[in-house]
Symmetry: C2
Subunit: 585 residues, 2 copies
């Protein structure tokens, strides 16, 4: 027996296997996952395993290594989140998300830090040796909402898209703030004296860390898109590039002390549309499937490790400090959301309701990021106290908040996610309105999101697409071909009947015509009209038509860790076409 | 800049990226891959990179770590080979393959070992300190044909299926023999005296290592199949189990000093049919795609590393020894193939032609396995000589033989692989003949391959399928549904016309009836008749029909590293159905 030789890969494989089997186990009984979130069950499994290891070895089970977490377990989850991020609601609410992520997190860090320092001044608690800086450092690691924990819970409760993106987006983007504050306070703790220059340098770092991450991500994303232009002859390695470049963006950002999470999200969101257009259908299925699979396994491993690491002798129990940590986490988050939302609502027509605010505050779950950061702290007298407090906060948020949030959402009748995908009509109207609003913004001289979106779209079609997309004749689905044929037939009929000159038959021509008659002096609308008549736009609409003819009948959540969108088999389509043809004949 | 922190994953990712980009580069110019095999080009890239590293650092570039090769790079390639192994030709020629792999390899080891020892006795060559045991040890590592190198070359030349499976099968199965002989001679080298008991123990080990590997592989394969029974609710992690269980089988076999290659092949071949039936279509696409992708990257990395490792100061150049190694490798392999084929041809109707023998002998390429084994040798005075000789043999076989084998195949007009898949008619006839031959073998009391195949099939459908397959109603394609409908209509018509009693209309009933009238006393044929009427068999034939209706028109090689079988889009099917329906109406 030569175990030494194969130990490393063998144990890694066994851990992954255990995680996968645990997942299968939960889903065998359909009732269990509908009551308890998977994350709770996995932590529970971890706790049991940790207990077994502890009782067998009589020493603390191994703690999740922070390096393993940040280098290997976190990237797949963030990549999955970024790649499947619904970009429209994300960019529509980017201002609010950034406000919550930056100002909200700073608010929480200082709120929790200062109030815990206040608690430390109470003599009865025997905590007077914990300095303000240490409390702020602790605040910086405990304040950050964890994307992994948030995803695990919010995926299952299906709240409306806006609410989901607000909580989830905040949890992703606060990484930049957390990294900066954590590193700042950690270096302050080691410095003999703090100058005001250092504080200003710290504030400047926010922008460097965040925007630097975006830049690194976009560079790698564009390179990935460019690379997939040339993979036509070796389809099998196409999916690899998506993973390699995103991972490289994460590692590069981490190497330069930028936000890896922000980088990988920018990379995934940036490359998605180009990569999807370049690679084959099967490659794309593999990319999506593997991303889901990987993130699902990472997520499972993280929660199991979290459970295992909880057991042991790493903790110093100080009741008041731990209790007040939990309470302050809840209070400051609730206050922060209330105050920030007040300002947000003043500038928006589509306000965030009180119920939504409650769910945003209540959904601020903590998870493995806090846990890894607390273990990365330099050794000092009260590190074990901080570990204990962090563990309790994580378990409290995941178990108590995670398990009660679903009943609360039901009880409050929070607006749910619409179950069906938007219909063709809706999609066309949304697109149409976008153009219209961009035009209105341009006229009124207000450079809002529609204006920038329009400019970006122009830049994309004029330059980016030409560099990043492969030139090839896209295979058209049979339904589009049929549609084109019918359209051509219809056009010939109209031409023969001599009607073409009199009334534009196409609904867009009609719409555009109506618009024209109202604003025929503005050059912008003329540009829009050209846009509307543009064959590219027409082709786009045909594409939407083809994509949606079957999707309308399908219902189901759009983002879910366990399923991929569009699971219906192509055989179904063929069957339906047959039936339809049969009936028509 | 904090490079230390991300070094390991960063460098691994960069290497993989380099390998993938090199692959893309070659395929950009379509002429290059058609003249030079990819493996040669990759080694060439490796040589250049090694040269650059050597000239910059002025020390030998890093050598490919044997552990990395055996634990991480080899398994994906072997898994891919096993999973896509054409099982019919493999089992039809298993006897010949085993003869080549076991007897042929032993022949080569001892032939090369003894004749090199002879060379060492020539005083002028200054090699008298190389003992017989060391020569045999060297023979054991240089004799083994390398599956990676063979695959890389034979995939591109498309020889007929039998020839391909003979060379490829041998290269896979000789692992058991190589492992045993290598370890045996290595321990002999370290022993003070060798007893005859040790030699006999060594011979016994062949069976333990080979059959043990098969057993480990089958156990893991069956467990994998059983696990996929329960993944219905979490489709995304299905592909994971295929990889995890196969990798575990490899590691477990290696742990017990069994043949990991044999284990992973047995695992892959064992689980394939059950896993395919259990998992969803998309999961299966992912499995196939990822396997191809992974093996393709591993293969690229191996050849690049091979090139990089060649450069440096690890070599001791002794012209005669190295030249004679190359010559003996060629001569003993040619002799071995000639002698063994002589015996094989005496017992087979379908003989191996002279041309085929030449290609088998010429296709005995050496590769990274030899290279890793020679670096694993314990340090002794002549290790560097062995390294040099191994490197030269590998480069000679890959470059000279690898590049000339394609022109030779053209020149000799070796029978090529048929480009089209077998038609429905052929498939049905093959199946029918199998049953017939199994019956004949049973009557004549000769327990040949058809008899055992039939028994295995019976055992499979009676027990294994019930345990390993999920019970669910398989989604039938529209064409099968249509076929069933027509069949039912036909049956009703026949029944109404009162013809059913008089003449069996089904071709199988007819065939079976004819058979019956000839041998109506033998119970076996009655059993066959039952089999033929069995709804399972009928369903199978319907399945084949459905599967092949479109495949007939497709042409292309069946096994290729760069493409997946069946790349045609389902949309095409739908279109064709439409067209056919249209015409018929």
């Amino acid at each position: 027996l030569d175990y030494q030789h194969v130990q490393v890969p063998f144990e890694i494989t066994l851990w992954i296997m255990l995680a996968s089997l645990a997942k299968i186990g939960f889903h065998l009984y359909n009732k269990l996952p509908s009551v308890v979130p998977e994350s709770c069950l996995l932590i529970f499994v971890g706790l049991i395993m940790g207990g077994i290891i502890y009782s067998l070895n009589d020493k603390s089970p191994p703690v999740m290594d922070s390096d393993i977490f940040f280098l290997y377990l976190l990237p797949p989850i963030v990549l999955d989140a970024g790649y499947f991020m619904p970009s429209r609601p994300f960019f529509e609410n980017i201002g609010t998300i950034l406000l919550y992520a930056v100002v909200g997190t700073i608010w929480n860090v200082f709120g929790i830090g200062f109030s815990l320092y206040g608690i430390c001044q109470v003599k009865a608690f025997q905590l007077q040796d914990v300095s303000l800086l240490h409390n702020l450092l602790f605040g910086s690691l405990i304040a950050a909402v964890d994307p992994v924990a948030v995803l695990a819970v919010f995926e299952e409760i299906h709240v409306n898209e806006k609410l989901h993106i607000l909580v989830f987006g905040e949890s992703l983007l606060n990484d930049a703030v957390t990294v900066v504050l954590y590193k700042l306070f950690r270096s302050f703790c080691e410095m003999p004296a703090i100058k005001s220059v250092d504080v200003f340098a710290g504030v400047g770092k926010f922008f460097v860390v965040g925007l630097g991450g975006v830049l690194v991500g976009l560079i790698f994303g564009m390179t990935a898109a460019f690379t997939t232009r040339f993979t036509k002859d070796i389809r099998v390695i196409e999916p690899l590039f998506v993973f390699l470049y995103s991972y490289l963006s994460y590692l590069t950002a981490e190497m330069f002390h930028l936000s890896g999470i922000v980088a990988i999200i920018a990379c995934a969101m940036g490359m998605k549309r180009y990569v999807e257009a370049n690679i084959s259908l099967k490659s794309h299925t593999t990319v999506k499937y593997f991303m889901k699979m990987w993130s699902s396994v990472s997520d499972t491993l993280i929660f199991i490790f979290l459970g295992v690491s909880t057991i042991g002798e790493n903790h110093e129990w100080n009741g008041p400090y731990i209790c007040f940590t939990v309470i302050f986490c809840l209070i400051w988050r609730a206050l922060g959301v209330l105050v920030l939302t007040f300002f947000v609502n003043r500038f928006h027509v589509n306000t965030i309701t009180g119920k939504d605010q409650f769910i945003i505050a209540y959904g601020g779950l903590r998870g493995a990021i806090c846990f890894s950061l607390v273990f990365l702290l330099p050794d000092f007298r009260r590190k074990k106290l901080f570990i204990a407090a962090t563990t309790v906060v994580i378990l409290f948020t995941v178990f108590v908040q995670g398990m009660t949030i679903r009943p609360l959402v039901d009880l409050l009748a929070v607006k749910r996610k619409r179950e069906s995908a938007p219909t063709v009509g809706e999609q066309i109207h949304i697109r149409f309105l976008d153009h219209l609003l961009a035009g209105i913004e341009d006229i009124s001289g207000h450079w809002g999101q529609y204006y920038w979106k329009d400019k970006l779209e122009y830049f994309n079609s004029k330059y980016l697409q030409k560099i990043l997309l492969r030139e090839y004749d896209q295979p058209k689905s049979s339904i589009v071909l049929l549609y084109e044929k019918l359209e051509r037939k219809h056009a010939i009929e109209l031409a023969e009947a001599g009607q073409l000159g009199h009334a534009p038959s196409h609904p867009f021509l009609l719409c555009a015509g109506l618009l024209c008659s109202n604003n025929d002096r503005t050059a912008i609308t003329d540009k829009k009209l050209e846009d509307t008549l543009n064959p590219d736009v027409l082709e786009n609409i045909q594409e939407i038509l083809a994509r949606n003819l079957y999707r309308i009948r399908r219902t189901g959540p759009a983002y879910n860790r366990h399923t991929l969108p569009g699971e219906t088999e192509p055989v179904e389509h063929a069957k339906e076409i047959l039936i339809l043809r049969h009936k028509s004949l």
